[in-house]
Amino acid sequence: VFLPHSIEDKPNRKDNRFGAAMNVMGISAYFHDSACCLLRDGVLIAAAQEERFTRRKHDPALPGHAFRYCLEQGGMTVTEVDCVAYYEDPKKKLARQLCMMTNGLPWNSTNREALDIHRPIREIATVLGYEGPVKIFDHHLSHAASAFFFSGFQESAILTVDGVGEWATTTYGRGDGKKIELFEQVDFPDSLGLLYSTLTNYLGFSVNDGEYKVMGLAPYGKPVFADQVRTLVQLGERGQYHLDLRHFDFLRTDRMYSEQLPELFGHPPRQHGSELLQFHKDLASSLQVVLEEILLSKVEYLRSVVPSNHLCMAGGVALNCVANSRILRDGPFSKLFVQPAAGDAGGALGAAAMAHVELTGQSLPHGAMAHAFWGPEFSGDQIYRFLKTTACSFTDYRGREEDLLDATVTRLAKREVIGWFQGRMEFGPRSLGARSILADPRDPTMRDRINASVKKREGFRPFAPAVLENRMDQHFDLDHPSPFMLETCNVCSKIDLPAITHVDRSARVQTVDSGTNRRFSSLLESFNCKTGCPILLNTSFNMRDEPIVCTPLDALVCFVRSELDALVLGDFMIDRADIAPSWPMLVAGMMEIPASAVSHHVYRLL
């Protein structure tokens, strides 16, 4: 309907500025956390989530801003894109949606719009302006590819687990060179992702957002309800499992469970924002334990079919770093790779990789993804030009990196909390030293202070440590690098680290090396020199319900709205005392953050 040109009139798109280079754009969109990435000859050039640009948390819109950013980063224009790869198959998804309608999913205009299977292709043309070939890959194949092709493994078993894509909610596969085979899947409505989301919903947290909180809450409880949770999932043969659907209601718009779920646990659902009782903590713990049991059982099965030492995992459930560590520790695989954007955002990456393989017949050229810094960066000159027009004073450390690091660690050692904005933005949900809030992990008051005053979020939520890679084993029970903060381990440091040690003595560690994260590594070195502690508390640079900051402006606004003590923007430092007197009122009280673009009452199954 909306195609701008007739089909016969083929565009002459490509000019050959990059010679024979193959530029593939990957796109994930229309569900949550939409994203875009650019692969050039299989080399990842850029990747970013749309929410970072639009400032709408989990933005599901077609990622127009991220698309333009990728072109900009690639130094190219739309005519040089050879292929766009889309991360799920709308027709297969439509079949599942239609089945849900026969099951009672209400018919309304919103749902009707969601059934427009041509929307992705149409809007890639009309919104993004791209008129070339579009390749479509299954949701879980995109997940699988996003892990395997960036793992550095020549061969590997692959497990993908999420809420739902088209039909599949869990897939089992193997990767070998340029080939990925998914040989078994579990179909909707049986879904570990939906199980976790349903109990997240029952525990009074936001779906698609609060699962991480439930994981963080689990160590405060005991798994006393594990038996009841086990009744919700019946393990089947091979890779299969089945939800006891009497307890679930995926067709409602206000909750994901039936009346039987509160009956099962003997407690009413927790109201959002109400007090967290021991029951809630115990249920979170029980859920985590059962999830780990099921995943362990299924990776054992996977290993029996794919006799590899390597495992690649992807899908939203692969962001459960506690489960990841358990799989690695207690499971049959000796190596595990989880890509930093393991959720739907990463689907863009996998789709692009699949398209590259199909188009070239070649696998991707590089080894394991070494870092997550695939987003925009801002030069010192850009930051200086921005700051000098504003009503705040700042210290210019250009050409004086040691002084900048010294000033920063001096503040950190004085228990100040610092906003740290350096280089290219991270791809994925974790801040890894490019858009981070940093603090001294030795301060016993620090966790409560940052939760309450800086991030303005729930007090129970733990913080993660960033540690120099060459010193990790002195402080953490970890024998391999963990650059993406996707594993947990026990704290074994002689230094007391209360701000980053969870109640069960665990920590979600990020290891930092100078090869991929030079300035952050230098900062940790400086902090170690000054304090004898090579570890910093590292949390994402954002406030509650807000995406991680992307630009210097976002960082400055977040700095003013929070109670950070200082902001390091590239080579510049701003003290809280340096901001304009009116800013706290103008920015903190009035700067509008758009509401989250995704419903948090239920998992959006359309």
Binding site: V43, L98, S109
Partner: protein
């Protein structure tokens, strides 16, 4: 949900296959209408304000509190922003005072003056002055951006305030609203495909709007009947003398008729310029015949002719038709009260308990038959102090007998002395000038308002200067050093309006910048200062400049139609004029769409040196051999082949055609062969899918447009960067 059987899945797969044709959404929409009728008979709800049906009684942002048997209403944090409503914390319990409820939109809010001065307070003062007591209280329930559904909800909930009368001063925000699940879109598709075409769609929308308003006014009138609360409707008037309705392009006709329409318009403007009014009128009449009143273009010219001939009544008629012509436009038009709105409200004049005051007639009488103008209006519909006083005197004339034994004519009541500080008056005029300039209104109007503001309060020059400087900077205005000084004015109205929206991209408005520079100059060389900021923040030096950034590619708001003859004769201080042909603000496309034949871009140079431009463009339709002209400061630098697919051209700009400071790049697109029958069919299909389509023609599209110093070839940089990335990876 239950497990799905394999049979179910197979059937669903087959159905998905069947629905995978291009018509899937249209089929769904038809099913929606045929089977669903999910909202059949159900009235639409407000997008702007929602009451609180589940909780305590809420009227606007005020919630009921009962203490010691006394009922008051307290402002609550939930829901709507306070800044859209009166700055009132508590509505006290009903006392022995007569209580008048005052409902309405931004006009009733006293936009530009509020909270320092507003209509509700004025009405209260006039009434108490007339009665010579303090026995009347006016409860101010006016809200900025209140739509009709919200007004009805508000009025119905406001019954809880135990009033003696209700004044409803609204009608400017009553626009066509598509009701979900209705037949409307399918019907519009049918009409569009018929001989009636877009003018037929326009008529259809007019009819539906009439029904929509009539039903809701009926509900308002029912309050008077069932609750025995006298209601006074004040029908808003429009600034016919100064405001020109936007013409966003030719209407959707067919290729031949569009070509005729454009030719007639060009000739009409030409005749108007040369003073041949008879020929201009003939052409303008042809325009109206072709588009059947669905654009303001012909009416604007006919009005201009009538005004030149001193035929005020005739001009009024044409200007009212121009005002009404935009009711079917999906693009945002400035708020306005259509003739049909007035007709419907007047039809309730004989209902029990209803009184209708038509400000059209009242303003005409007050102005001795002249068109309503800047004396009464600050912009299209928002009133001056004089206008507010006149409107409130008219309401007071009707209210006095309802609440007392007093009787006074509006002509007497309007003599009420309204005290408004000169600074507040000047600031309101300044804000209105900014508003008008951003709506693309005439330079002469903007200039007059700025000058009048300065006459009223000379120190306002400082505010104008600070405002201009913040507007020229890249950073959000609130973060600029100059905004700190604006904060020192402590004028909430000014700060709020200059502040919002704080993160919206800025657009360079050359008319406003020129006029502010001229008006607020003086001791400070504001022009030089502004130029210095422009060069410092926007010039092409070391880095590439993205000319598709909003600041460089012009205003996003709808430009007014301005025949050459009514444009200001004044020459802009700067050489540039940035027009409005930027991307449609409603369109989510990530590229630039040219909606006028020429697109203008601002290019700022620090010093004159050779530049390179990289332009990626395409046209949606073009004939072989047609070209696109690229001009810099009026000199053609390139003629590019028209192409239907993205093409990148790199152009060199010699220093000899550039000047230090702002330069203007103009891209002139080929004439359109528009709309093709396929394009019209596309519109019809969009309607069938339940979407309101974008009906404006697109002359050309630009995916990227970048300027760089020659020598700073970024593409070479990219190649090097690519090589580095690849070698690192390998």
């Amino acid at each position: 949900v239950r497990e799905f059987s394999e049979t179910q899945k197979a059937l669903a797969n087959r159905l998905a296959e069947l629905l995978s044709g291009q018509d899937v959404v249209a089929i769904m929409h038809y099913l929606d209408v045929m089977l669903g009728s999910t909202v059949s008979g159900k009235e639409s709800h407000s997008d702007t304000y929602v009451s609180n049906p589940a909780g305590p009684i809420r009227v606007g942002i005020w919630e009921q509190r009962v203490r010691n048997g006394q009922t008051s209403f307290v402002r609550t944090q939930a829901g709507d922003p306070w800044t859209l409503w009166a700055n009132v914390g508590t509505i006290p319990p009903k006392s022995r005072q007569k209580r008048i409820l005052f409902l309405g939109e931004s006009v009733a809010r006293g936009y530009f003056y509020d909270p320092h001065f507003n209509p509700a307070t004025t009405l209260q003062n006039i009434l108490n002055s007339a009665i010579k007591s303090n026995s009347v209280e006016v409860i101010d329930l006016a809200r900025i951006d209140l739509d009709l559904d919200a007004l009805v909800q508000l009025a119905e909930s406001a019954v809880a305030l135990e009033s003696d009368a209700m004044v409803i001063f609204a009608g400017n925000n009553w626009h066509y609203k598509r009701e979900d699940g209705s037949q409307d879109m399918i019907e519009m598709a049918r009409i569009l495909r018929s001989d009636a075409g877009w003018p037929g769609v326009h008529s259809f929308i007019e009819g539906r709007l009439r029904q929509y308003i009539d039903r809701r006014v009926g509900r308002l009138a029912a309050i008077a009947k069932t609750r025995s609360i006298p209601i006074i409707f004040l029908i808003p008037e429009f600034n016919l003398a100064a405001w020109r309705s936007a013409c966003s392009g030719p209407p959707v006709l067919n290729v031949a008729a569009t070509s005729d329409w454009l030719a007639e318009l060009e000739e009409a403007e030409s005749f108007l310029r040369s003073g041949d009014l008879a020929m201009a009128a003939e052409r303008a009449t042809q325009i109206c015949r072709l588009d059947q009143g669905s654009t303001p273009a012909g009416f604007n010219i006919l009005a201009e002719i009538a005004l030149r001939q001193g035929k005020t009544a005739e001009a009024r008629s044409h200007l009212e038709k121009a005002r009404d012509s935009v009711l079917s436009q999906p693009m945002p038009a400035s708020p306005r009260c259509y003739s049909l709105t007035g007709e419907i409200l007047r039809s309730y004049a004989n209902h029990k308990g209803i009184t209708v005051i038509d400000l059209r007639n009242r303003f005409q009488e007050y102005s001795n038959g002249q068109l309503p103008d800047h004396r009464l209006f600050l912009d299209y519909c928002h009133l001056t102090v004089e206008g507010i006083t006149l409107a409130m005197a008219s309401a007071a004339e009707v209210l006095l007998p309802v609440i007392s034994n007093a009787r006074k004519a509006w002509s007497e009541l309007v003599q009420f002395k309204t005290e408004v500080d000169p600074q507040i008056r000047a600031e309101a005029e300044f804000l209105a000038a900014v508003h008008n300039a951003n709506y693309g209104q005439r330079t002469s109007l903007v200039r007059a308002q700025l000058e009048h503001a300065i006459q009223t309060f000379p120190d306002i020059k400082q505010l104008m200067s600070l405002f201009l400087k913040t507007q020229l900077r890249k950073s959000p205005s609130v973060l600029c050093a100059e905004f700190e000084q604006i904060m020192e004015t402590k004028n909430a109205s000014v700060i709020q309006r200059l502040y919002a929206p704080p993160r919206a991209p800025k657009a360079f408005n050359s008319v406003l910048a020129n006029e502010l520079t001229l008006a607020a100059g003086g001791r400070e060389d504001l022009g030089a200062c502004a130029q210095s900021i422009l060069i410092d923040e926007h010039s092409v030096d070391g880095a590439r400049v993205d000319l598709l950034t909003r600041f460089y590619c012009g205003l996003a708001s709808t430009a007014a139609f301005q025949p050459e003859s009514v444009r200001s004769a004044g020459q802009p201080l700067w050489s540039g004029h940035i027009d409005s042909s930027s991307a449609n603000p409603n369109s989510s496309s990530v590229f630039f769409k040219a909606r006028e034949k020429a697109s203008h871009f601002l290019l700022v140079c620090n010093e004159t040196c050779n530049l390179s431009l990289a332009l990626t463009y395409q046209l949606s339709s073009c004939s072989a051999g047609t070209t696109i002209a690229v001009e810099v400061n009026g000199k053609e630098i390139a003629s590019l082949p028209a192409t239907r697919h993205w093409q990148t051209s790199r152009l060199a700009v010699q220093d000899s055609v550039l000047v230090q400071g702002p330069n203007v790049i103009r891209i002139i697109w080929p004439s359109l062969q528009w709309p093709s029958s396929e394009w019209v069919e596309g519109l019809a299909k969009a309607f069938e899918c339940g979407h309101f389509p974008d009906i404006q023609p697109i002359y050309g599209e630009i995916f990227s447009f970048q300027a760089a110093l020659i020598g700073a070839d970024t593409h070479e940089d990219s190649l090097q960067q690519y090589g580095k990335v690849l070698s690192d990876a390998l």
